[in-house]
């Protein structure tokens, strides 16, 4: 007999164990899907999760993909902790990239140590501006932030498309939908010869440290936690709800904007149509998988980054469609949410006998 019993208190050990369980279940289900598609499950999983990161280059690519995911997820954790559903990070990333790209283009063919900081700052501001739209509409017009932030994703991608096709397109670019290459001073330095990993990773790591400090060592972090648990309690305690909403959106927008800067001034070096393979959406999964905890998010971003690389490798070597990556991402979130059941309920085996 199996009996399900409610726990008196959510289990803390299980809180950090379920993400691992979710990853394991995703692998099992993924193997099953590969089997149905007619591939050898273990071989497919090997190509998906081990081959891509087996060498130095692969590992650098992993960090390259994990960097924006981690950065955005850290920002989103501020929103999610305080019950603000910003799901438009992809738009904030794009708009941040547009603003910083525009600034970088202003400095075309100029060199100087001051250029990069300005470009980075511009990206953060761009992301904040874009995130302020759903925040302001939510606080002053009571508008649903989920729908607004999402609609703005489509708008930002169209703005980018307009700019790279039209006014910002490279005059010597044979009408390709891309801008000029940024000057070297506007690019993030590479860390190792021959690898693509760049200094943007330090942006992500500083975001981790700062967010950890804010969450666990400041009054602001405490306020956020309380508002996340219960808005009523937060109001009762006299916290300024509206200011909080705008603040968390700005933080989250800045992080997404910085992720955009990292992409265009790092591996890409110019603006074109596809600057992000939906990092902004995937980062939502990273934030949850990392349990909205800065350290958890580091690990989660590495795990989820593998799905990007794995999808590419599996496509090349086994002709497995690259969208399998998204399927895996969806499954991770499904299994994570499902295994949260164990947080609140215990499964008891009663009277089991051999």
């Amino acid at each position: 007999m199996i009996k399900i019993v409610k726990r008196d208190q959510p289990s803390r050990a299980i809180f950090f164990f379920t993400p691992v369980l979710a990853i394991f279940l995703t692998l099992v289900a993924g193997g099953l899907i590969f089997f149905i598609l007619g591939f050898k499950p273990f071989e497919a999983l090997k190509f998906f999760f081990i081959v891509p990161i087996a060498d130095k280059y692969g590992f650098s690519e992993l960090l390259l993909k994990a960097t924006p995911l981690c950065l955005i997820a850290i920002g989103l954790s501020f929103c999610f902790k305080s019950n603000n559903w910003n799901i438009g990070a992809e738009g904030q990333l794009t708009f941040g990239a547009i603003v910083s790209g525009g600034v970088a283009l202003l400095f075309y063919e100029q060199e100087g140590f001051y250029i990069l900081p300005i470009v980075i700052l511009a990206g953060a501001i761009g992301g904040m501006l874009y995130a302020s739209i759903p925040a302001i509409l939510k606080t002053y017009f009571n508008t649903n932030e989920i729908l607004v932030s999402l609609m703005l994703v489509y708008v930002s991608k169209l703005i980018l498309d307009y700019l790279v096709v039209g006014p910002w397109s490279n005059p010597e670019g044979f009408n390709f939908p891309e801008t000029r290459q940024f000057s070297d001073s506007a690019k993030l330095p590479l860390l190792f010869e021959g690898l693509r990993i760049h200094a943007g990773i330090f942006l992500a790591l500083s975001a981790v440290v700062i967010s950890w400090f804010v969450f666990y060592k400041t009054y602001l972090g405490f306020q956020m936690k309380v508002s996340g648990f219960s808005l009523k309690t937060a109001k009762y305690a006299g916290y300024k709800g509206k200011k909080m909403i705008i603040l968390v959106f700005l933080i989250s927008g800045a992080c997404a904007g910085l992720a955009g800067v990292g992409e265009i001034t790092g591996p890409i070096g110019q603006l074109h149509r596809e600057i992000s393979p939906d990092y902004g959406f995937t980062a939502i999964i990273v934030a949850f998988l990392g349990r909205l905890h800065p350290v958890g998010i580091i690990f989660a971003s590495l795990v989820v980054a593998i799905t990007y690389l794995g999808a590419e490798t599996a496509q090349i070597f086994m002709q497995i469609p690259k969208y399998t990556g998204q399927v895996f991402q969806g499954m991770i979130l499904f299994f994570l949410l499902a295994s949260d059941y164990l947080l609140f309920f215990k499964i008891k085996f009663i009277g089991s006998k051999k």
Binding site: D161, P321, L333, L337
Partner: protein, 310 residues
Amino acid sequence: MIIDINFIGLIIASIMASAVPLILASCGELITERSGVLNLGVEGMMIIGAISGFALMTVTGSLIIAVFGAMLAGVLISTIFAFLTQTLITNHVATGLALTIFGIGISAMIGKNFVGIPGKEFPVLFEGLKDTIPLLGPILFGHSIVFYFAFSLPFITSYFLKKTKIGLIVRAVGDSPESASNQGINVRLVRYACILYGGAMSGLAGAYLSMIYTPQWIENMTGGRGWIALALVVFSTWNPIKILIGAMIFGGLTIIQFHMQAIGVRIPVQFLTALPYIVTIIVLVVISRDSRKIRLSTPSSLGKSFHKDN
């Protein structure tokens, strides 16, 4: 310049045609939300319906199997959502997002073998009557059965919610699951049913896109329509008849954008394409500004999990 009156009729008919998927998905989601469940996976369910319908049509050659298969696919994928949110009591927003991401991935995976295959012609009704009445002829006649179903759905939905016992139960569950439960209503069962129904309608909306509206499979072909359908439910303040109005406005924006491009209006195409999304935001702001009205019309338990201790 003399404008052919039948041409205006044709434009209105094309606006209505582009409103069909929005009406279907919104009316489905409206029932789901009325029972207190917020399913953000509409986009995912819709795209699953689109690929299932198209794939079944290509493989079996039967339009009936394809249409019902697409609805069934919507039901199946929404079962995941129902199981998670109702049985395992997960967060509605996160689960819906997972459903959308998962749905887009799965649809592209299945759809890999169906790219570039031409669709089949879908039969239309009353074709011969099209020219009998000026202006109204093209509006009323010569459409697919799904078209007629979509335009009657808001009225059926409204009747269902207001006049039938089951409709009353759905509303009771959405407005106060505790009292409904005390009255002996199985809240979980009702919500399951409403979620699956929403899945079926989203699946049908997707099938309409890939089989009738633009008969082919293109990755991501729903292009945000699922999200606009979600916005329409808010726009309608959970009143099915108003969904009709909203869907016509958005259908109109899509069609006008095509015509403006055709007659060479010098606005960048990207701005015209962005119009429906921007208008959605503006409309949401206008509707939601009156927070009292929104609070009165929103199902009270929307998005909140309900768990009965036994």
